[in-house]
């Protein structure tokens, strides 16, 4: 064995290799694995491509679970049998699986980071409503103090953390806004806007100091909900529509808008402002404008479609032109979107512009538009055909 040819080396290597299959049958085994991999790939393709014809029995969640499981199976097959990790030295497996563990941890951490933050901004649950309002009040006070004596603040900045817009709004600057609006954080309802041009409208620039802050009271609308009002409901056209969709229609004035308030402040306020006033030329006002839409013919459906699918195209609102992109919000649940619309329509004086019998938006109404799957351009067309104000 002193002198070996190179070929012997290779042959010896084969003999001493850690492969745990007989050399003859291993090719057959590889072919088998390759066939399984191919079949799984086709199955994955079919699950998605023929979801509506072959796999109607499976809900979307099940399809998702199946896809994840199938790709994990493929992953494991390749690692175990093509990369021979099964049967190879355990040190390799140790290193690789630690790497994988950190990788999977990274994935979870990243998604947790983002979803938890969005949830923190989007959720204002009923039970904690008072607590949150309290925190906001505190924040507003602290803010006032901070402005007058420039004191240090700790709680206020903590509260701010939860007031930041969701990540969705971070790429706002893709849209060309001309002078870029800057959000100056005020209290819960007093976020104000400065443009680069310098026409400052901030609270602090007013001589009287910070403006009085009126806190939205999530229970205020619910309080007036007398049963008599419900009975006296005279199915006005919009109300009737909702009744058809949602059975016993609730009135807008009775609607619980706490969830919608959370969605609005966490997602919409960065553009349309916490006061609903918008930014002239960039983001249309919702205060005063939303009731116009809500009362127009086809307006209710349009509002739902607007939130589900977004809007892009030039529009005129009270003589002011807007040509921006309003993002789609289909990722929120039917309940949340209905509640958002109810919040918008009952805030900032909008409720007064609507008849008292105006029906609240229901989850069913939102659900009914989900199948439409419109594009932003189609929402724009819809708006043009309805000739909305």
């Amino acid at each position: 064995m002193a002198k070996k040819t190179s070929n012997d080396h290779a042959a010896d290597h084969a003999a001493s290799s850690s492969e745990n299959h007989h050399e003859g049958s291993s090719v057959g085994f590889y072919i088998f694995i390759a066939l399984v991999l191919g079949a799984i790939t086709y199955l994955e393709f079919a699950l998605v491509e023929y979801q509506d014809t072959w796999f109607t029995a499976l809900s979307n969640l099940w399809i998702l679970v199946l896809l994840v499981v199938l790709s994990v199976v493929k992953f494991i097959l390749v690692v175990m049998f093509f990369m021979h990790l099964k049967g190879d030295h355990r040190t390799f497996a140790g290193f690789f699986s630690s790497g994988m563990a950190i990788a999977v941890g990274t994935l979870f951490a990243l998604s947790a980071l983002f979803t938890v933050r969005s949830l923190a901004t989007a959720q204002t649950p009923q039970q904690e409503g008072a607590g949150v309002a309290e925190a906001q009040g505190q924040e507003a006070e602290e803010h006032g103090a901070e402005q007058s004596e420039q004191g240090t603040e700790t709680e206020a900045s903590l509260a701010h953390r939860f007031e930041y817009p969701a990540p969705k709004t971070l790429n706002v600057d893709i849209i060309d806004l001309g002078p870029r609006p800057q959000l100056v954080r005020g209290g819960a309802n007093s976020a104000t806007v400065q443009t680069d041009a310098g026409n400052s409208q901030t609270a602090s620039s007013r001589p009287g100091g910070p403006p009085p802050i009126t806190l939205p009271d999530p229970f205020a609308q619910g309080a007036g909900g007398a049963a008599g009002q419900n009975a006296a409901q005279p199915a006005a056209p919009p109300a009737g529509e909702a009744q058809a969709a949602g059975g016993a229609a609730a009135l807008l004035v009775d609607a619980d808008t706490s969830a919608g308030e959370g969605v609005y402040n966490g997602n919409c306020a960065s553009c349309h402002q916490a006061t609903g006033a918008g930014v002239p030329g960039a983001f249309p006002p919702i205060a005063g404008h939303a009731p116009e839409l809500a009362l127009a013919e086809g307006g209710r459906e349009y509002l739902v479609n607007l939130l589900l699918y977004g809007l892009q195209g030039e529009i005129q609102i009270s003589g002011q032109a807007y040509n921006g992109a309003m993002p789609a919000w289909a990722q929120f649940s039917d309940d949340e979107l209905a509640s958002t619309l109810n919040y918008v329509l009952s805030s900032w004086g909008n409720a007064e512009a609507l008849p008292p019998e105006y029906a609240a938006f229901t989850a069913d109404e939102v659900a009914a538009q989900r199948d439409a799957a419109l594009s932003t351009a189609e929402v724009y067309e819809l708006r043009q055909t309805l000739e909305l104000p």
């Binding site: 390759a34 086709y42 790709s71 093509f82």
Partner: protein, 201 residues
């Protein structure tokens, strides 16, 4: 004979475990590459659905086309094990055939990607267009670079087999290149599901 340990660099030195340094190095690299891709995939997923302007994923991703390219990459992995098997059996002609096959299939995959990218750019999706564009091109582009490196690596092994006789050391080199190639394949398995399929549920 017993001292002839796979991957052993010198025959004089004794080791308690038959561990090849180079192979270990490869596995450690792959472990780190896992984390690298996890960060890219995570970023893609986190920003998914947050683009303000189109084109959106469902507008332009092409499932049938990508299924075919996924299949091509999987089959290249299969040819890779055959190539490794051939060189272990000291069957050089077959080794050359399969290695060429792997490089060829890898190039087909790259061809699909080049087509896909240029099609997307034509449709208006660029790196700067929206979050989808930035994260998608970064992720799949990085993967494409991995594939390209793999193809070049395998071709270099193929050339070596013509230049000088292959030794057991070369079998180890093929095995390590194979590990890299399979890894590139499993990353694509994950991307195919996370980026392409899930979008269309």
């Amino acid at each position: 004979m017993s001292s002839l340990i796979p991957g052993h660099t010198t025959h004089t030195e004794h080791r308690s475990t038959p561990l090849s340094d180079r192979k270990l190095l490869m596995w450690i690299f792959l472990a780190s590459d896992c984390m690298f891709f996890a960060a890219l995939i995570g970023t893609y997923l986190v920003y998914n659905g947050r683009s303000l302007v189109g084109p959106y994923p469902t507008d332009i991703l092409d499932i049938p086309l990508t299924t075919v390219s996924t299949f091509v990459l999987l089959m290249s992995s299969f040819l890779m094990v055959l190539a490794l098997h051939a060189i272990r059996m000291n069957d050089i002609p077959k080794f050359r055939l399969w290695t060429l096959g792997v490089a060829f299939f890898g190039s087909i995959f790259l061809g699909f990607q080049v087509y896909e990218f240029s099609h997307f750019i034509y449709e208006g999706l660029t790196l700067q267009q929206n979050l989808f564009g930035s994260t998608f091109f970064t992720l799949t582009g990085t993967h494409g670079v991995h594939v390209t490196i793999g193809v070049l690596w395998l071709l270099s092994l193929l050339i070596i087999s013509y230049v000088r006789p292959m030794t057991s050391q070369d079998a180890l080199s093929v095995e390590i290149a194979g590990l890299y190639w399979h890894f590139v394949d499993i990353v694509w398995i994950v991307i195919f599901t996370a980026v392409y399929l899930v979008e269309f549920i």
